[in-house]
């Protein structure tokens, strides 16, 4: 019983972090209708950058979001203006090819630079534990959880209540009408790409206890985020959050309770179930019939 309970807690922590990682992908998809197939590799890039900074300067990883998030923001802007905007009216496969290519290039560079060994980035809280209901949890993971909850809450609030959020939703729901209201679609898309990728940088340095660095992690996390995006219903942040937590819990409990590593297959089982029975995902369930 305590095993299930602690699995549940761990699953929620993992799931919330996954939800934050996916939220950028969701925002990008909502405004530009492009799945960012480089999302996981950009996460890998941010995590390896943290590892590198840590090795070089010995500074505690807790401080790195302050550097890595703005850097990723600029990288996201550059990616949009340099690569995405020029092909945004081309066939949609062009963007997929480009982003998959970018993903493979990043993964290969990371492999060349850092080798195939596993790495982790610890921070000052990694060795401290708190006991909840008889089980000890790494304080570092709870910090990551706290940052993810805070960021998701801020994002949801901004989407709902600020002029920026209204413009973003307007572009997502009716691009022509948004243009005629004077909303610059290119600016909204650019900021969405930058912000979506900056969120990776905000959380990446804190994930040492949750995600192990391997050079092939990029594509794996892209696929996992894609599963969450689809299970969540692609058009709502709340859907992504619910789906992220669901996937995190299912995977963690599956690994705990099922033999071998069958548990890590469960997210994909869930994906198939959703696609067959509820193609609209979580957000279709949440939406009240009008």
């Amino acid at each position: 019983m305590t095993l299930v309970l602690s699995g549940l807690v761990q699953g929620i922590v993992l799931g919330t972090v996954l939800a934050l990682l996916t939220s950028g992908m969701t925002l990008i998809y909502r405004t530009s209708r492009i799945v960012n197939f480089a999302h996981g590799s950009l996460l890998a890039l941010a995590m390896y950058a943290t590892y590198d900074l840590h090795q070089r300067f010995g500074l505690d990883a807790l401080w790195f979001p302050l550097v890595v998030a703005p850097s990723m923001f600029l990288l996201g802007l550059a990616l949009y203006w340099g690569c995405i905007r020029p092909i945004r009216s081309a066939h949609h496969l062009a963007a997929i090819q480009l982003l998959l290519g970018l993903s493979i290039a990043i993964d290969a560079l990371l492999l060349m630079r850092y080798g195939a060994d596993l790495h982790t980035v610890d921070n000052a809280f990694s060795a401290r534990f708190v006991t909840v209901l008889g089980t000890g949890y790494s304080l570092a993971n709870l910090v990551a959880f706290g940052v993810a909850v805070t960021a998701l809450t801020a994002l949801a609030f901004a989407l709902r209540f600020t002029a920026w959020g209204r413009r973003l939703r307007a572009v997502a729901q009716d691009e022509l009408a948004a243009k005629l209201c004077g909303v610059s679609v290119l600016n909204v898309e650019a900021i969405t790409w930058a912000l979506g990728i900056a969120l990776l940088g905000a959380i990446a340095p804190l994930l040492g206890g949750i995600i192990t660095l391997t050079p092939d992690m990029g594509l794996r996390y892209t696929v996992l985020a894609l599963v969450i995006l689809i299970v969540g219903g692609t058009d709502s942040l709340v859907g992504t959050i619910v789906a992220g937590i669901l996937i995190g819990v299912v995977q963690t409990l599956g690994l705990l309770l099922l033999p071998g590593s069958y548990g890590s297959l469960l997210p994909y089982v869930l994906l198939v179930v959703v696609l067959v029975f509820r193609p609209g995902g979580v957000s279709a369930l949440l939406r009240r019939p009008a």
Binding site: A163, R166, D174, L176, A177, C181, G182, V183, S184, A290
Partner: protein, 233 residues
């Protein structure tokens, strides 16, 4: 207010408008008549910067705005009610309206919202409803109110009466008549000639991308009647 000089425009390599010249003075309401595919929508979109022009010039208050980006044209005070009911379906009525005020300064948007609610009390009652859940007439009223949120000097309206019940069309007419009284300059593209001729001082007939008639009286009415018959036939 608005002047088009020998404007040509189209989609990609497909030309749609040829040598279109027209003038709209401040405070006027001008009808743009024409059958299906004549190019009315394309013309309004060219003015708004959504369709690339290929020749000629667009002047707004004497200044050349040819080739300006759409957001810049909105900022100059041009509002455009698009063809079809383009609401943001999952946003509330209030949020829809606030997006319409994008060109205003942040603090001014709420003030404008209150003014619009005074003008359209129905929308105030519906302010928390998702726009997609409104009736057709309510949605069209909201789209017009959203265009007015920007305090436009020039209002381009593309078939606002399409798909509305006779009662809703009457209400719509009253809204436009009130706008005229307030001095808003209006360009109205309609297949419903009765609607636009009752509202407008004069008009242009567009056929296959060319202006074939510019008139303010009987000729326009008979042309509109012919168009109407052609449309029904």
């Amino acid at each position: 207010m608005l002047e088009l000089r020998a404007l040509g425009a189209g989609y990609g390599k497909v030309p749609v408008l040829f040598d279109v010249s027209l003038r709209v003075e401040r405070g006027e309401a001008v009808a743009l008549l024409g059958s299906n595919n004549a190019g009315k929508t394309t013309l309004l979109r060219a003015i708004s910067g959504l369709v690339r022009t290929t020749s000629g010039a667009i002047l707004l208050d004497g200044a050349d705005i040819t080739g300006f980006a759409y957001e810049r044209i909105v900022r100059l005070g041009v509002a455009h009610i698009p063809e079809g009911r383009h609401v943001f379906p999952e946003m509330t009525v209030e949020d829809n309206l606030l997006v319409g005020a994008t060109r205003l300064a942040g603090g001014d948007r709420r003030r404008r919202l209150r003014e619009i609610f005074e003008q359209f009390p129905l929308l105030e009652q519906l302010r928390r409803r998702a726009a997609g859940s409104l009736s057709g007439g309510q949605q069209q009223t909201m789209v017009i109110a959203r265009a007015l949120m920007s305090r436009p000097a020039l209002l381009l309206a593309d078939e606002p009466s399409v798909g509305l019940s006779p009662v809703a069309i009457d209400a719509l007419f009253d809204v436009f008549a009130a706008l005229r009284r307030d001095g808003t300059t209006i360009v109205l593209a309609e297949q419903n000639a009765a609607f636009s001729l009752d509202l407008c001082d004069r008009g242009y007939v567009l056929q296959r991308g060319r202006i074939t008639l510019a008139d303010d009286g009987a000729q326009l009415r008979s042309a509109a009647g012919a168009l109407h018959e052609a449309y029904l036939a």
